[in-house]
């Protein structure tokens, strides 16, 4: 289209918008085509020409500024083979919330694969997905600039070149291998970061936490952020450092919390000290007690009663007050020393029964062996199988077939399969999904056979994760990668 035609078209367009004949405004060549027909026909002919001119002669005008996102980085693991994607999508569809979807993702990562980005992407705030997805979390966060290859060591010099999630993972790794070097980095670079980032960095100190970290953590008692000060206090408490030196008066929170706990004695021959939650008189008291358990540290509370942390935990009367038991378990998880955590876990798991479930609150601080022992115990007893859904930080793909045959799991599953009650069915679906995450490939395949033989429809959607598990080889073949 030449310039005259473009000008003519613009004038005709304006005229048509408001209404009226455009023949006089049309370019000469167009007028010739419109010819000597009647006024309506001339307008229609011009309209047809204009339509084609707009369609073919003019191209969409690109905006001056078009923003491009950086390229989505490649991940360190190969993509899940195409043939398994339908099974994966079925498992993701069945996973009701983000936490359960992350379980699917974790299982796949445990077998050496990552998902296709159009099937699943981690959220910006995601802290639970496998580390391999860190580059995608950073990409989601939209940080500009170039990421360093994950193999490069993090240093004070290249600190700003790392995206936050990649930096977090690099620091966590460093804390496990060279804790002192990581601490120095956090100390050097952390002070210039905003409070939110500072808090996330200090949180990484929990990896490889040792007495050598105490001076740095003590130095944080003057930090600008209350949350940072609180976190540092908890980490110090884990090292056995007393953080709160109350005067023992009415304003001392430790004294106030201690007043909610009754010290007693039990046993005829060998008198033992016991700590029992005092009976509460009002919801307000309940609320206050919860606040105090949340803000006080275990080491200070134990010291108040003249006991060490393991002694205090050993003397606590689990089972007397469910809410108080949950609060003490959370307190141990937040500020208890490693010795207190393992003591509590080992004692309660050895005793079994309902109190063993309080160990679920300690999961983030337990080693892999203790986590597995607890899961096996819950499965074996089968009194509270739903508790497995609350457990955090369990590894994928380790539960063997023997673990399922050793206890009530299979008989209990068989009895629930025929149930018509909706709640029982939902419970069954949850358990099968959890099993899909925990079991090895062989155990997953056998469990599918078992529940189908017991009457479960072979095509049931609740078997989706088990099916994916069974199809995902534990040692990928060359063709899969």
């Amino acid at each position: 289209m030449n310039e005259l035609e473009q000008t003519g078209l613009a004038a005709m367009r304006d005229c048509w918008i408001t209404g009226g004949p455009t023949f006089d405004l049309a370019p000469a060549a167009w007028k010739e085509i419109a010819g000597t027909a009647g006024p309506d026909e001339r307008e229609r002919r011009l309209l047809a020409i204009a339509a084609q001119a707009l369609d073919i002669g003019l191209r969409p005008a690109a905006p001056k500024v078009l923003k491009r996102r950086p390229a989505l980085p490649a991940l360190a693991l190969p993509m899940l083979p195409e043939r398994l994607r339908p099974l994966l999508r079925a498992a993701l569809k069945q996973a009701a919330d983000a936490r359960r979807k992350v379980r699917v993702v974790t299982l796949v990562a445990s077998r050496g694969f990552v998902l296709h980005p159009m099937d699943w992407m981690p959220a910006v705030s995601d802290q639970n997905s496998p580390d391999v997805y860190a580059p995608w979390i950073d990409w989601q966060a939209g940080v500009e600039g170039q990421a360093h290859a994950p193999r490069e060591n993090l240093t004070a010099e290249n600190w700003d070149d790392f995206y936050p999630a990649a930096r977090r993972i690099a620091l966590a790794d460093m804390r496990r291998i060279e804790p002192a070097a990581a601490r120095m980095l956090i100390e050097t670079k952390g002070s210039s970061e905003p409070a939110e980032v500072r808090l996330a960095l200090i949180e990484l100190m929990r990896f490889g936490l040792a007495l050598e970290d105490a001076p740095f953590l003590k130095g944080l008692s003057t930090d600008r952020s209350g949350k940072v000060r609180e976190l540092a206090g908890r980490l110090l408490a884990r090292l056995g450092e007393h953080g709160q030196h109350g005067d023992g008066g009415a304003d001392d929170p430790i004294a106030e919390l201690a007043a909610f706990i009754a010290e007693g004695k039990s046993g005829f021959i060998r008198r033992r000290t016991t700590y029992t939650p005092a009976k509460l008189k009002s919801p307000a008291q309940e609320q206050r007690r919860a606040q105090l358990f949340e803000t006080c540290n275990l080491v200070d509370l134990a010291a108040r009663f003249g006991a060490t942390e393991p002694e205090f935990i050993g003397a606590w009367q689990f089972g007397a007050d469910n809410n108080a038991d949950i609060l003490i378990a959370r307190m141990v998880a937040a500020s208890g020393s490693d010795a207190a955590v393992t003591h509590m876990a080992d004692t309660l798991v050895a005793d079994g029964g309902k109190p063993a479930l309080f160990v679920l609150h300690l999961m983030p601080r337990l080693d892999s062996h203790r986590k597995r022992v607890l899961v096996r115990l819950i499965l074996k007893d089968w009194k509270y199988p739903g508790a497995l859904n609350l457990a955090e930080g369990i590894e994928a793909s380790w539960l063997e077939w023997d673990d399922l045959t050793n206890g009530q799991v299979l008989p209990a599953l068989r009895s629930v399969i025929g149930a018509t009650d909706d709640a029982m069915r939902r419970g069954l679906d949850d358990i099968l999904e959890t099993m899909g995450f925990l079991t090895t490939t062989a155990a997953a395949a056998r469990l599918i056979d078992e529940v189908v033989a017991a009457g479960m429809p072979p095509a049931a959607p609740s078997l989706a994760l088990l099916r994916l598990n069974a199809a995902l080889a534990e040692h990928p073949s060359a063709t899969d990668t």
Binding site: T18, L66, A90, P117
Partner: protein, 465 residues
Amino acid sequence: MEFDLKTIEALAPDQASLSAASKLTKRSNWPRLEKNEQQALIWGECQGSGSNPYRVVVDTGDHGYKCTCPSRKFPCKHTLALMWIAATAPASFAPIEATPEWVNDWLGRRRKTTSQPAGPAPGAAAKSIDDALQPDEAAVVEDAAAVERREVAQRKRAQETRSAVSAALDELDQWIADQLRLGLSGFVDASSERCRRIAARLVDLKATALAGRIDEIPSRLMALRSEERPDAAIRELGKLVLLAKAWRSEPDDPELKRLVSTSETREQILANPDARQVESHWEVLGEKIETRRDGLVSHSTWLLDLNSVTPKFALLLDYFPASAGRRSNAFAPGDRFNARLVFYPSRAPLRALVAERIGDVTSGAAWPDFGALKDPLAARASQQDGAPWLTDNPLILPPGAISLDDRGTAWWQAADDPHGIALPIAGAVDQTLLGIDLGAAAALWNGARLDLLAAQSRFGRLDLS
């Protein structure tokens, strides 16, 4: 598999369904028959009367079923036929380990009411498999005089239709002139009501296809920004003028008849010796299932010819009433198959029927190298030269990427020409797509917006439809 003919007889809603099912039990009607014994499922694809195949899945455990056909009989003839094949020729089903996604979708949605197979339905005794296998006696041989009478009546009806359509186009012409006189600003604002009124007149005057197209104009305008709508209205109305003129000059042209009044039947297309036939490997680029304003649902499946050196497409298009309920997809995007397609005769052949499915293609995932595609809109320009009334044209875009403008609208832009052409994309795009460089992309361009179907990337094939 747990089917016997008695069960099928009991499940059938009536004798007619059984008789219809018996005609569909031929293996040639079923390009795909598969089973998963572990999950007690059989499924298949049946080439029915539509362009898109019907997908049927049956749970052999509890006789639950699903078919994508719009029939209101439950189970439909396709479901019965699949069960029939399972009962009489179970070896026809290929064992498959992983169930396809459409089967998984159904499994995820279905709610089991009973774990026991359904018992015989009331009235089961009134139906008989044996009767269904009897030849159809209703077909009587017509005498020559009756044939002639029928042909005369047909010619008369065709003449009447032509006169009615001609009158319809006269009314359309006048209506377009009125819109120009009253102003396109007012037309854009009241397009819904005005288009409905003229569409109803066109239906009365047997220009049904054109009426359906005009009914869709308001939604096409509303999909654009307000400042773009007048130009879009000029394009839409101008193309109607061109189509009306073309029909007047060649009222017997099959493409123009199809666009203005009614389409040929499947049988007519298959029997037409002039219809172009292409046997090739085809990839399903994507599907669009849209409910139209006239109460019909259009089901479009876009295919790419994998053996062609230039981008060649095919469109399988079906319409069915929206009241028939939600329709599932007929293919999975990315499916590849070897088939002979018959194209509806037209200047730029696109709409097609599957005449014969020869088998699935499992090798490869990449598209052919179509060479340098410097101007992504060149293909549209050449198609518009021959058929300027077309609204949507399929394109293969060269390597590019998706970017956002300051209003959040997504644009496709060529990779090697960041200051060159950029095409706005219809609707919202998945944010992940903004970080993926597209090797090549297949899309529909309607003159104002790009509708992405699929793309190639370093993450493999991306389904964008």
